[in-house]
């Protein structure tokens, strides 16, 4: 009989990191397929290129620091998909390359890789792109429109203003509410369909892949605040268009709940969601960009460990 040495406990649940990553990828894949119906196969090509770039960057990182191969942990695929879905469909490929490289090298590898990054890599990448190339990131193609699949020539694409652009200008978006809900308005590639994103939220919450408290607290606070302080027109129309436009729902489901950058405690998570909602409201209202959710998210990422420490300092910690 061969004996093996270790310390207790001697059994494992068998839950693995890759399983939850796979669920995230499935949900992001659904959002991608939905967007392909609006914009054609170009988006799929974008996604594949983005995944290849991210995985390649991961390989370079693991080669440089001689760590075990981190390309296998699937987190790079999640980052790549989130970046593609947050960018407009008609975006030049070099922009995707820059965003991916920034996310993997600067936002993740520099801090020590998966689990040690203080800021959400995809949020960092989008924030970086927003600051450097705002004209590309807020130029949304009209819907539906079949984009050229491989061609770099995007001169024939027609562009329209997003809901948030109208709100920012102080007016009401001239779109039907149902179009806003189903994402049939000019917006970022994968962030359109509110129904699909809410379904993803329920699925991921039931599977305990994401902390539902964060998303719920964030969405509730945001809806409440945007209804109480409408930007234009009737309060419920303003609130509805704020919630179902921009990155809001998408980020609430996929980015805010990123386990490594959000608070781990329940109470911390709720406070985090509330603070993030307030930050997004303020940034959308007083920021210079029409959608500044990524900046708000990065600020909130920074306070996440502090929130956990504060929760730990509560004397009766049976939370």
């Amino acid at each position: 009989m061969k004996l093996i040495k270790t310390s207790p406990p001697f059994i494992k649940s068998g839950k693995s990191q890759s399983a939850s990553m796979k669920r995230m990828i499935v949900c992001l894949g659904l959002a991608l397929i939905y967007a392909v119906f609006f914009f054609g196969l170009r988006l799929l090509v974008n996604a594949i290129i983005s995944i290849i770039i991210c995985e390649f960057c991961e390989l370079i990182v693991s080669g440089l620091v001689r760590l075990p191969n981190t390309a296998k942990d699937l987190s790079a695929i999640v980052t790549a998909l989130i970046i593609v879905l947050l960018l407009p469909a008609a975006v030049p490929l070099w922009l995707i390359l820059i965003a991916d490289a920034f996310a993997v090298f600067i936002a993740k590898a520099v801090f020590g890789g998966l689990g040690h990054n203080p800021f959400n890599p995809s949020a960092c990448a989008i924030a970086f792109i927003t600051v450097c190339w705002p004209k590309y990131i807020f130029r949304y193609p009209t819907v539906p429109q079949m984009l050229p699949v491989f061609s770099a020539d995007l001169s024939k694409v027609t562009y329209g203003s997003s809901v948030l652009a109208y709100l920012n200008a102080g007016g009401v978006a001239p779109y039907r509410l149902s179009d806003i809900f189903f994402g049939a308005v000019p917006t970022a590639a994968g962030t359109g369909c509110g129904l699909l994103l809410l379904a993803c939220f329920i699925y991921l919450s039931v599977k305990r892949t994401i902390h539902w408290r964060i998303t719920a607290a964030f969405l509730l606070t945001f809806t409440l605040l945007s209804a109480v302080l409408p930007r234009a027109g009737l309060w419920y129309i303003s609130a509805f268009s704020e919630v179902f436009s921009g990155y809001l729902l998408f980020a609430a489901v996929f980015m805010l709940t990123d386990p490594s950058t959000s608070p781990k405690s329940d109470i911390g998570g709720i406070i985090y969601g509330v603070i993030c909602a307030i930050a997004v409201i303020l940034m959308r209202r007083y920021g210079i960009y029409e959608e500044s959710l990524c900046f708000a998210l990065i600020i909130c990422n920074a306070i996440a460990p502090t929130l956990d420490r504060w929760v730990a300092s509560i004397p009766e910690r049976r939370l």
Binding site: I4, F10, I11, Q17, H211
Partner: protein, 433 residues
């Protein structure tokens, strides 16, 4: 029926078939090694003949009487390391035939005649402490309810449950005797059972309180309705009845032999001092690489030494599937450990800080509240063992406190010193558990 809502984990119990099968008997092998503490006084010279049920040694320090589990010859006394007892001496006995218990040994007991001295041979299988000591402490501490504990919430382990299942009447009688002895009026029997995670359905007597929460089940049960509960094991109750009725001391103990690599898992009655290797062979292991674990799969102790003698309090000997433990750098912050921790701690932060040697941060995150249940390591999706880090932090914090206390001046109170009310409360809480 008390149920524990909230945190913890649930796993497959894998023990009903073991539980319901009759308890097997394992006959004494050629050699037994009875563990005693180094300070114990041995009543026999090496080479002399000993009889079964005869007083072998008396341990003054702990007050345990050790009785010979077999008739035979005392070969030698060798120092050894036991996973449960630490440093100890082994009394090596060569078995030479079996004798019936002599009539003269039988206790003549009347009403209220039983004393703590009479039961000094019984060791509580819950924690390996002498039963007499525990009962004395209970009556001194104002414990209101004496409970027979068959709350075995870990998978595989079911030796206490097995005793309760097969000898319920005796356990109840033993519990009453013990309660009478220490002057406690109320008794209760606890068993852990989850219908949804068991293969077959079991029915328990209506007077048994069924605990069916998550693992770890014992934590919130130290007091119910503000009444303090003292736990003794079901096996100790059974042994107590046997002692009172027949005069037979605790010469054997019931352990569960199970695990992924045991083909015939069962509860088996083994003489104290039998090497665990023999018991494992009795239950027919397959020959694949395995982990030998003494105790439960979550909190047990690992051993490499198959000659380790069986001792009351082991609970189980398990042959488990080896698991791979990865480095702390694999933590990706999923927070599963935070969600399952029954104490509401954040194991990943404590483990991270301990890796960087930040002791005060570990204390801020409540490392001293850890009950070492192992939930965090069980659920870890990164394959890490955070509990091992927390354990080391706890021992470091405790040693820091003791050294600090010696240096500290009486007036200045350091937040970490044992004098501070908070820390004392922590320590007391830890001891109670």
């Amino acid at each position: 029926m008390p149920d524990i809502r909230g945190r913890g984990i649930v796993f497959r119990q894998r023990k009903n078939s073991i539980l319901t099968a009759p308890i097997k008997e394992y006959q004494a092998s050629e050699h037994l090694s009875v563990p005693i503490s180094p300070g114990a006084e041995v009543h026999f010279a090496i080479g002399s003949k000993v009889t079964q049920n005869e007083l072998l040694a008396v341990d003054e320090e702990t007050g345990i009487n050790i009785y010979s589990p077999c008739t035979g010859i005392l070969d030698s006394i060798v120092p050894a390391e036991h996973p449960l007892l630490g440093n100890c001496d082994l009394l090596r006995l060569t078995v030479a035939g079996k004798t019936e218990l002599r009539e003269s040994v039988q206790l003549k007991l009347g009403e209220g005649m039983l004393s703590y001295q009479d039961i000094a041979g019984i060791i509580d299988t819950l924690d390996g402490k002498p039963l007499a000591h525990k009962l004395k402490e209970f009556s001194a501490n104002g414990i209101a309810v004496l409970a027979a504990d068959a709350i075995e919430d870990q998978s595989f382990v079911c030796s206490e449950n097995g005793v309760l299942y097969h000898y319920y009447a005796l356990v109840e009688e033993g519990l009453k005797i013990a309660a009478e002895l220490c002057g406690i009026k109320k008794t209760q029997v606890f068993v852990y059972y989850r219908r949804d995670h068991s293969e077959t359905e079991l029915k328990f007597d209506s007077s048994i309180t069924v605990v069916c929460g998550k693992y770890p089940a014992r934590v919130p049960f130290l007091s119910i309705n503000k009444k303090k509960i003292g736990f003794i094991s079901a096996q100790a109750c059974y042994d107590l009845v046997k002692l009172v009725r027949t005069g037979e001391q605790q010469l054997s103990t019931i352990i569960t032999v199970a695990g992924h690599h045991i083909t015939k898992p069962c509860n088996v009655r083994v003489p104290v001092g039998t090497p665990i290797g023999e018991v494992i062979d009795f239950c027919e292991p397959d020959n694949s690489p395995a982990l030998v674990v003494i105790g439960g799969p979550m909190t047990g102790k690992y051993t490499e030494d198959l000659t380790t003698p069986v001792y009351p309090g082991m609970g189980a000997v398990l042959l488990l599937e080896p698991i791979a433990i990865r480095e702390m750098s694999n933590c990706w912050g999923c927070g599963e450990c935070v969600r399952c921790c029954p104490q509401g701690l954040m194991p990943l932060y404590i483990a991270r800080f301990s890796r960087h040697g930040k002791l005060s941060d570990c204390r801020d995150f409540g490392a001293l509240h850890c009950i070492e249940c192992g939930c965090c390591s069980y659920v870890c999706t990164g394959g890490i063992n955070p509990m091992s880090f927390i354990q080391s932090v706890k021992s470091q914090l405790h040693s820091y406190q003791t050294t600090h206390r010696a240096k500290d001046q009486p007036k200045r109170r350091h937040p970490l010193s044992s004098d501070s009310p908070e820390v004392t409360a922590h320590l007391k809480e830890g001891e109670e558990r």
